[in-house]
């Protein structure tokens, strides 16, 4: 038992501690000059702009599917009028943020892990350090900031395309107009649904970027290590994000009690 603790538990906890220190450093360095604006903008382009088609298409499809499911459930009770509001509430509160988090985790997390891992095993990071560039600030902080900035925007895009998808499905069945659908969709959404649901994705972005960056800069063992870093980035970031979501939802309920009603 003691051997298990020494060989498994202690190293696992140590790894966790190193990740926390890594995340704390990233958060601290984010607010310290110099600010790598151009590199951050490049990362926003990579993380945000290039994810837009994926997010928009996924949101549209999710909206259609949710609308069909919601209709099937609500029309049994003659509550078809609530379909837009129910869909929008579900999207804004939970479905949108979580789906965006998982998609970005898969697309961006793997990219960051693989890119930084490749730089590590090919000693490009050491080369940056050799020319007096703060590799942590240049490579990690910019990616974390870009993810934290892009995630809420991507979530808003997901929510709106989801509502448009819901309208597409609904108009095919009932011929409902776009404006009336949109107004009906937001009829039950409160600020306390919209703001926490959107802004919590900044936390998701932070988790994805920090996890992928940590696993990337600590990659070892050549190309195999790069592949491992990419895979582990996706899995670890997704699990951490879902677990954190539980805590965040609880926290939102605590701060905004009316959202739990």
């Amino acid at each position: 038992m003691r051997g298990f603790v020494r060989t498994v538990i202690v190293p696992w906890l140590a790894q966790g501690g190193r990740v926390v220190v890594f995340a704390g450093r990233a958060l601290r360095e984010m607010f310290r000059p110099p600010f790598e604006v151009r590199e951050t903008a490049r990362q926003v382009y990579e993380v945000g702009w290039r994810s837009l088609p994926l997010i928009a298409a996924a949101g549209y499809a999710v909206g259609i599917v949710m609308s069909m499911h919601t209709r099937a459930s609500l029309e049994r009770f003659g509550a078809e009028a609530l379909i837009p509001a129910a869909l929008a509430l579900a999207l804004v509160r939970e479905t949108g943020p979580l789906v965006v988090g998982l998609l970005v985790s898969g697309r961006v997390g793997a990219g960051i892990g693989a890119e930084l891992g490749a730089m590590k095993v090919t000693e490009q990071i050491d080369a940056l350090e050799a020319v007096a560039v703060d590799s942590f600030k240049f490579l990690v902080v910019t990616r974390v900031a870009a993810c934290m900035l892009a995630m809420p925007i991507l979530t808003v895009v997901m929510n709106f395309t989801g509502i448009v998808g819901g309208w597409t499905a609904e108009s095919a069945v009932s011929g409902m107009g776009f404006e009336s659908y949109f107004r009906a969709a937001f009829s039950l959404v409160q600020f306390t649904d919209y703001l926490p649901g959107t802004l919590k994705t900044m936390v998701f972005g932070f988790i994805i970027a920090v996890t992928a960056s940590y696993l990337g800069v600590h990659a070892s063992g050549g190309t195999q290590g790069v592949g491992q870093a990419a895979t582990r980035s996706v899995v670890t970031a997704s699990v951490l994000m879902i677990a954190t979501n539980v805590v965040l939802v609880r926290l939102i309920f605590f701060v905004f009690p009316e959202t739990a009603e």
Partner: protein, 451 residues
């Protein structure tokens, strides 16, 4: 990083923020954050479903939202709900306006409905109060519904009792009508007989006069005086006879008193028949009405045409009836072929007499007792057996209905196959028919006592 990429980043960030702002605006617009508004209060004893953000409508129009709920300081106090309402609707919110908590259907959320006030009442000031009408809760509705059902059940019970009494009265009326018609018939018959006697007597008188006339003619001139007197007497008699004939015509001719009386009686009979037919139709309709079906079934009203074989068998065990059967064998009633020579079953020439004799045993019981002609057949295969039994029962049923004029609905044919546990045959099977009379056990006891 080139300018195009920077532009894309800028578009991404600015576009995302704009989209985010659109969401904020839609929510804010609904909450009247971007338009003028005023506040009103209303107090409620029960605020079920109401919370901050609950929508407020004025005569169905979206008008605002709830912005606060003040809890009463002591038990029995009322909750004060504060609402924010669009300023452009202020002119409709008067001092006599009311606020009610309603629900959007069974599943919909609660909302507060403001009723527009009257022009005579002053405007409600910003922060003023309105009268509140408490929410109707489902539990209250259920309690009320239960009470309604209880009242409806009591009403139904009362209606059943009244219906029973009405049917009883109707029966008495029909009996009285029958008696009256019988008496009228007797009276008319007596009058006719009296008229006939009068005519016969008049004819006898005329014959006597003719005899006297011939006798007088034989006496020639010697008795001329007597002849004159006799002629005078004849004239008197003729006058009397004419009077008698006129009297008879008055009684029996077209438009006579008797004729009018008979017409009246016929009209009364026709009306009585129509009324009874309507009553019979209504009763049949009531028997089929699910509300009254149990009522009639409990009292032994069955539609013989609708009974299945098993239901009929179960009916035999009903203690309210005593089953009386007369068994008739097939070989003494039926024959194949006949004039049509198509192989169909028909009654033998002397079958009618045998059926009449059998019916003679049952005629002593009340005519309204249900009579079922049970058909039996011992053919081997199921289909032909049932068909044969049905045909036999129908043939005998038709004869009985035609000959004895039984009440409609009280006679039926029932094919039963081969099994006949009570039959005279030892093997528990029967080939023929059975005339089965269902006599009410109470009536049967009465009939036995009379005999």
């Amino acid at each position: 990083m080139g300018s195009p990429r920077l532009a894309m980043v800028g578009a991404f960030v600015i576009g995302g923020l704009l989209l985010f702002a659109v969401g904020l605006f839609l929510i804010g617009d609904r909450r009247l954050l971007f338009s003028e508004q005023f506040e009103v209060e209303a107090d409620f004893g029960n605020v079920a479903g109401v919370e901050i953000g609950t929508s407020v409508r004025l005569s169905g129009l979206p008008a605002g939202e709830v912005i606060g709920i003040a809890i009463p300081g002591e038990p029995g106090g009322r909750f004060v709900v504060r609402m924010r309402v669009r300023e452009d609707l202020h002119a409709l919110v008067r001092a006599d306006s009311e606020a009610a908590i309603l629900s959007d259907g069974l599943l919909g959320s609660a909302y507060i409905q403001l009723r527009a006030g009257t022009g005579a009442a002053p405007l409600v000031a910003d922060g003023g109060s309105l009268a509140g009408v408490d929410a109707v809760e489902m539990s209250d509705l259920i309690v009320e519904g239960r009470e309604t059902f209880r009242i409806a059940a009591d009403e139904m019970t009362r209606m059943r009792a009244e219906l029973s009494a009405t049917f009883g009265d109707l029966g008495d009326t029909v009996t009285a009508t029958n008696r009256l018609l019988a008496e009228v018939g007797t009276g008319v018959r007596m009058m006719s007989e009296a008229s006939a006697d009068l005519v016969a007597e008049s004819r006898g008188l005329v014959a006597d006069v003719r005899t006297v006339m011939s006798t007088v003619a034989a006496g020639q001139d010697a008795v001329e005086d007597v002849l004159r007197e006799t002629e005078a007497a004849m004239g008197a008699v003729r006058g009397s006879a004419q009077e008698v004939e006129r009297a008879i015509v008055r009684f029996s001719g077209p438009g006579s008193v008797t004729d009018r009386l008979l017409d009246d009686a016929r009209t009364a009979m026709r009306h009585a028949r129509e009324v009874m037919a309507d009553v019979a139709d209504n009763t049949e309709a009531l028997k089929r009405n699910w509300l009254f079906r149990g009522f009639f079934a409990e009292r032994g009203f069955y539609n013989l045409d609708e009974l299945t074989r098993d239901e009929y068998r179960a009916l035999e065990a009903d203690e309210r009836y005593t089953v009386l059967r007369v068994w008739l064998a097939a070989d003494r009633l039926f024959e194949e072929g006949g004039e049509g020579a198509d192989g169909t079953l028909m009654l033998r020439v002397d079958a009618g007499r045998r059926i009449d004799e059998a019916m003679g045993e049952l005629l002593q019981y009340p005519r309204t007792s249900p009579l079922v002609v049970e058909g039996y057949s011992t053919l081997r295969e199921d289909g032909p057996r049932m068909n044969d039994a049905r045909r036999r029962a129908e043939l005998v049923h038709d004869h009985v209905a035609r000959t004895f004029g039984r009440p409609a609905g009280a006679t039926a044919a029932m094919p039963l196959g081969a099994e006949a546990p009570d039959s005279p045959a030892r093997d528990g099977r029967w080939d023929g028919v059975a005339l089965t009379l269902f006599v009410e056990t109470e009536r049967l006891a009465g009939t036995a006592a009379e005999q």
